[in-house]
Structures are given as structure tokens and as C-alpha cells.
Amino acid sequence: MKNITGELIKTKDALKKLLPSEDILTFDFISEKGMQFCVVFADPITDKELLGEQVVRALLDYDGKPTAAEVGAKLTSPEMKTETALDILALEILSGNPVLLFAGMDAAIIVGTKKVFTRAIAEPSTDVAVKGPREGFIEDVKTNTSLVRRRFKTGELKIEFLEVGRRSKTAVALCYLEGTSTEQVVKEVRKKINDIDIDIIPDSSYLTHFLSSRPYSLVKQVGTTEKPDIFCAKLAEGRVGLIVDGSPIALTVPYLLVEDFQSSEDYFVPTYRATFTRVLRLFALLVAIYLPAFYVAAQLFKLQLFPVKLLLTISGAIRDLPFTPSLEMLLVLLVLEILNEASIRMPKYVGMALSVVGALVLGETAVSAGFVSTPAIIIIAFSGIGLYAVPNLIEQTSVVRLAMLLVAGSVGTYGIILATGFMILYLVTTDNFGAPLVAPFSPVVGRDLRDSIVKYNLGSLQKRPKSLKSPNKRRLK
């Protein structure tokens, strides 16, 4: 690794050689006493106003020795450090921190005047709460860690900054509560992050692949949240969190499946209401997955499953349909998925038109034209709504729903039972960072059941979840 020399011109040229891009600028100035300075900075990501104020203005009347210590003492920036290695200086420039060079220097000074482009902290659209905090993470890692720090006024909160990505050098903040998170998990996460050898990390979702014990699995193995209050609550339970620069979605491990049936609001409403909504979410999810499949299986293989009057209604509705029940359901499901995908991507002003097209043109007209039956549309509508009751599992459950539908259409109800069996065995044999995915249901952890589908009041939740194996067991005294 090459180091700087005392000669200003040579060092400046060496840096320019390392960073030949046109957006890397240099600014030379001479103090009133004749001492030469040069600032090398990345134009788009450096706060030039701050640079002028804290560096240039401060040095205009400099008359001291050309040493980093003395020059540094004159600067008014709260963030600065000295460095001699050219590679590191180049990296700092690329991160938005200008480098101050001067004639006869022993070390260059890096000044923290990075320009940060951030949006305002807002409520995340995917996790809206009627009661409770409304803050959401944004794309800036520093802002996000500050939101976490604000909630933990203790030295036990450790935030380690790691770097991932050969080219992007993305900052990843590893957050945990010392003495509450399992040391083993912290070590494992740190190792997994450090072992990642990829060119860029555009979003935190890239990291989930590297953190999962079964990377190709359909099942989610890393917890996600956009809300700092949830993130902090998870840290307080003994989990380890990761905030990635450029992503508003923070990650937490170990992940338990039951997490996604809990919402932050459950902790701000009466316990009976929280329990009711959690049961409702589970029921909605089961309806979303199984209802279309059982409807098709019953039509094809076991009509007895319908009550007689319902059977008569259904048989009337499907009498002249050109498609088989499974094909009909598959088509309606496909239309729903397309509408869903299109409505997310398309501009908002077209969204209204799409709703009209989806609900009236496709729905109403398809029924009256005899392509699909009304019961099929009702079933899929139920299923579609049910899916969104647990928004964090949509990616997984929509695929499972499709698979169940295919199995039901080909093998019938027994196929659905076997597919469920597959799912159970797969889920119960998946562990993540030492925690069983389906805990506290399998293995049954009695204490943790108090905050699972059932929600006890806060006074009964004296200890942290046993499944997470936190060394600090008690949270309420």
C-alpha cells in the first residue's frame, strides 16, 4: 500500500491517478501566510458549504507548523481523522469525506463533511399502525441507527459498522444488546457478513440470502421490519439486528415464524383484542392458502363436502362453464396476481382505472360471458384478502396457495393433506441461528406461548422468549 509524501503536488497527482473520474475535484488555496493547501473531494456527495466553512475559512489565516496535529486543531469540523495510506484516502473521498493535503505534511486529514441525501422520516406504507409510534426507517444508515439509539439510552446497545460489497462498500450496522443477545449468534452473524464476497449490496434483502441456513428455501428465515420500535423490541428480546445503508428494511435474526403474526399494535391494545386479531390473522392465512384448493378438490373429487343447498347453488353457477374447476380457479388466481402486480407498479392515477377494469370489466363481464363462475371469484377474493392479513408472508403464501391449488386439482383433498404434511416436516426441521423456526409450537415452549397466537398481558411476560436463548432471561422485575 502506497503512502503519501510530504510533497503536495506528488500526493495530489497520486490521488488523481487513483481516482481519475471527472467528478473527483481538487481545490487549491493558500493561507495568508503563504502555506499551500489542497482539498480533494467527490463533487456530488460532499457538502461544499460545510467544507468551506469548517476547513477553508478556518485555515485562511493559518500560520502554524505543517503537521496534521496542528492543522487539525485549527479546523472546526467535529469529525476528522488522519491517514497516510493513499488507498484509504481514496476510499474516504469516494465515501464523501474530503481529504485535506498541505505542503510538508506528515499525514493527510480526512474531514467528515459528507453530503447525505435523505428523505424525511415517515410512516412505512407496508406497516401502518393505528396506535403506537409511526416512525419508519429510511435509506440512510446513520439516521436509522440514530432512531435505534434514541430508544436505548444504555451502553449495552452495541452498533458495529461492517462493510460489505467489493465495489459498493455498503455500510452494515450490526446492532445488539450486550448481555441480552446470544454471543454465539452475534459471532455467527458477524462472520457471515464478513464472509460475503459480492460486488455490490443494493438492499438488505441481498443479505438475507447469506444469513439463511437454507438459502434456496421458500420459507423466510430472516425477520424484516421497517419500524424502529419493532426493531428495538426485537433487540430487547435478544435478537441481533442489521441495518443496511440504502435500505429502509432492517433485518433481525433469529427469526421465528410466529413473529409475522404479531404486529406492533398488539402491544398497545387490550390483550383480548390482540389475541383475537392474531387468531384472525392465522385463520385468514389458512383461508387464503386452503380455500381455493379445497373448493377445487371438493368439486372434482368429493361433492359431499358441500352442504346440499350450497352444492345446488354451485352446480347452477358452473353448469355451462367451458373450463374444468381447477383451470377456472387457476385463471381467476392468475388474473388476481396480474392485477395485484400491475397495481403496485403502475402510476397512482392509473390505479383507479385499473380497479374499474379489474372489478367490473374482468370480474363482472367474465361471469356474464360464462368464462368463470361467481363462486370462483368470491373464493379468490376471500383468499386474496386473507393473504394480506399477514403482509410479511405474502411472497411465501401466494406460492404455497398456487402449489396447493395444483395439488388439489390433480390429487384432491388427500393431496392437500400430504402437501400439508410436507410443509409441517419441512418447517419443523428448519432451525435458524439455533432457534427452531416454528417455536414455540414445535418444540412446544410453554412460556413463549404466552406471546404467540395468544397474547397475555404485559405483567405475565416477565421473561424473554426462551426459544431465543438469551443469557439475560428476565425483562420485567
Partner: protein, 358 residues
């Protein structure tokens, strides 16, 4: 390796094992012992509970079955013995598998479906067998509440239609009927053998042997209650009612309004049974793995071989279930008591201390 907890073991004994006895066995017992069908079942349960008590006592020695045998007889003899035991377990899989296939074909489809509808079960079985036997502990955690839900649901819907007076007079079938019933039930009672293969996968806790036997008997009480309800509903025609647990609840008065809601409970029990039926085969594979080591590919190879063989056998015996049953629970009935009752008792006589390995 994941360990099986004592709770999971009790769940298996009390909630999972009884499910296998609710399908064809009630019909078989009604055929052999008529209204005395409870007594052969009770006798079988008591004997099996005794065997389970012995097996759980063996857990104190902290060795798996192969190590127990090797400790007394040496490596080669132990390998031979455990291979014979594994063969027995594969043999024990046959009846539950065939009865399940018939149950699926008859209960889940309005018309007789093609053979292909049961074929996915073999893929499922291969997947289950390829997993370690100890992973079943966690499966039992999920299946136990499902089993209770299914069983209680069916019982609640059925019990109103039963006339328990049909079980009287006691002893009408005579000792001959009792013996015939007990004999014909032997092939449904292999739970002690399963427990034998679980040795070394769970830790012995204080009073575990008693508790295990009592939990098993608690499951037995459930089965006896169901049996009484079954006979109370069908009475003299019970011997013609195949797949008992899918039959009893259909006379519930709400069915006309709500449809066959009892299917919800039948589905729950069918899911439990899907796991239970393949358990002996998986236990057999586990025995072989205990004896012949555990290279990574071996469980997959064994699972494909075993399920492939079972698939071919079940295809060959497609319409021969009654003949198979006649051989297994008639002519060859003595095989089961040897491996499920005598073997656990004899295992108690095996050497206690570990032999020093040269």
C-alpha cells in the same frame, strides 16, 4: 442431533399411536369378538403398555438399540439381529400402509379413483424416511393437538347417535371370541418396537417408564371410548363398516345443514395417520443406520429403496388386502408379539455395563 424430549415421547404414546388403531381394527374386532370388542383391545393395550414400560426402563442405560445388542453380543451378531428387527419393522408397515390406501381411495373420493391418487404418498414417505427419526419429536408436537382435535371432534359428533346398550351382555362372544380378537389385533400393536428404535434419542427422566406406560394407556382409553361409540352406532352391522373413524360421525344431525363438517376432523386424523403409517419403515431405516453408519447419502438411498419396495408391494397386492390381513393377523400373528413384547422384555436382560472396546 436433535433430541426427543419426554413431552414429545408422551405425545406420541398418548395422541399419535392411537390414531393407527381407529381405521380397520374396530371392524376387525367387531368381526372377531362382536359386542365384546373392547376386551381384546384392552388386553392388547395392557400388554403393549407393559412392553413400553420395559423399553423406557432400557433408556436408563443411555444406549441405542444397536449399542445395547453390540454390548452383549458383539458387532457382527448385533448387526444381524438389528437387520432382522429392521425387516420386521418393514413388515409391520405393510398393513397400515395398505389400509391407509384403501381408506384414502374410499373416503376421499366420490368414485373409485385411479391408483395414481395414492402415489404421492410414496414421495411423501420417501421424504419422511430420509429425515432423521429424532426429527419426529417436533412433528409430534404439531400432530398431537391435531390428533386430539380430530379425535374429540369425531367423538362429539358421533356420541349422540350411539346406543351403548348394544355392548351388553358382556361376555357374549365368549373366551374364544376374546382370544380371536386379541390375536387379530396383534399387527396393529407395534408401538413398543417403535419406542425401542427411539432409544438413545431421548434422555431418561425420573418415573419416565411409568409415565410413558400411563400415557399410552390414556390413549388407549380414548380408543376404547371410540370403539364403544362405534359399536354403539353400528351394532351388529359394525363388522361391515370399514374405516371406522370416517363412518361414525356422518349421522350427526347438523350434517344436512352444514355439510360434512366431520371431514374437518377426518382430515386432521388423516394427516396424523400419514405420518404414523410410515413410522415403522422409518424406524427400520434408522435401525440399519445405527448398525451400518451414517454416510450422508445413506438415508436417501435407504428411503428410496424402502419406499420403492413398498410401492411395488402395494401395487402387487392392490386388491388383496383381506388376504394379506388374513396371513399377517391370522397365520403369522405370532411374529408381532415376538418383536413387540418379548424383545423389549428380553432386552432388559442384556448386559448393563458398556464393554471395553479393544
Amino acid at each position: 442431533m436433535k433430541r426427543i424430549s419426554s413431552r414429545q415421547l408422551y405425545f406420541f404414546l398418548a395422541c399419535i399411536a392411537p390414531v393407527g388403531k381407529l381405521l380397520f381394527l374396530p371392524t376387525q374386532l367387531a368381526n372377531s369378538a362382536r359386542n365384546d370388542l373392547l376386551f381384546p383391545m384392552l388386553a392388547s393395550y395392557l400388554v403393549q403398555a407393559g412392553a413400553i414400560f420395559c423399553v423406557l426402563l432400557l433408556a436408563k442405560r443411555k444406549m441405542n438399540l444397536y449399542e445395547l445388542l453390540e454390548n452383549t453380543f458383539g458387532g457382527i451378531a448385533a448387526k444381524i439381529l438389528i437387520s432382522i428387527f429392521a425387516l420386521f419393522l418393514f413388515y409391520a408397515t405393510l398393513v397400515p400402509l395398505l389400509e391407509q390406501r384403501l381408506f384414502v381411495q374410499n373416503v376421499f373420493y366420490d368414485t373409485l379413483p385411479s391408483l395414481i391418487v395414492f402415489a404421492p404418498y410414496y414421495i411423501f414417505a420417501a421424504y419422511v424416511i430420509s429425515k432423521p427419526l429424532s426429527s419426529h419429536g417436533r412433528v409430534w408436537d404439531i400432530l398431537a393437538p391435531l390428533s386430539v382435535f380430530g379425535f374429540l371432534g369425531i367423538l362429539v359428533l358421533s356420541v349422540g347417535s350411539a346406543d351403548f346398550g348394544a355392548l351388553l351382555p358382556i361376555g357374549a362372544g365368549g373366551i374364544r371370541g376374546f382370544l380371536r380378537g386379541t390375536m387379530s389385533a396383534t399387527n396393529w400393536f407395534f408401538d413398543a418396537s417403535i419406542a425401542l428404535t427411539l432409544l438413545g434419542k431421548f434422555d431418561y427422566g425420573k418415573g419416565m417408564a411409568w409415565k410413558g406406560a400411563l400415557f399410552y394407556l390414556a390413549g388407549g382409553v380414548g380408543v376404547l371410548t371410540f370403539l364403544a361409540t362405534f359399536y354403539g352406532i353400528f351394532q351388529e352391522t359394525a363388522l361391515h363398516q370399514l374405516f371406522a373413524f370416517s363412518q361414525t360421525s356422518q349421522y350427526f344431525s347438523g350434517v344436512t345443514v352444514l355439510g360434512r363438517i366431520d371431514y374437518l376432523f377426518i382430515f386432521a386424523l388423516a394427516l396424523v395417520m400419514a405420518f404414523y403409517c410410515i413410522l415403522p419403515a422409518q424406524a427400520g431405516v434408522d435401525c440399519l443406520l445405527q448398525a451400518y453408519g451414517k454416510p450422508r447419502y445413506l438415508p436417501t438411498v435407504f428411503s428410496v429403496l424402502v419406499t420403492g419396495t413398498l410401492f411395488i408391494i402395494s401395487l402387487t397386492l392392490d386388491y388383496r388386502f383381506s388376504e394379506v390381513l388374513e396371513v399377517i393377523s391370522g397365520t403369522m400373528f405370532w411374529i408381532f408379539p415376538i418383536f413387540t413384547v418379548m424383545l423389549p422384555i428380553l432386552c432388559l436382560l442384556l448386559r448393563r455395563k458398556r464393554r471395553e472396546k479393544a
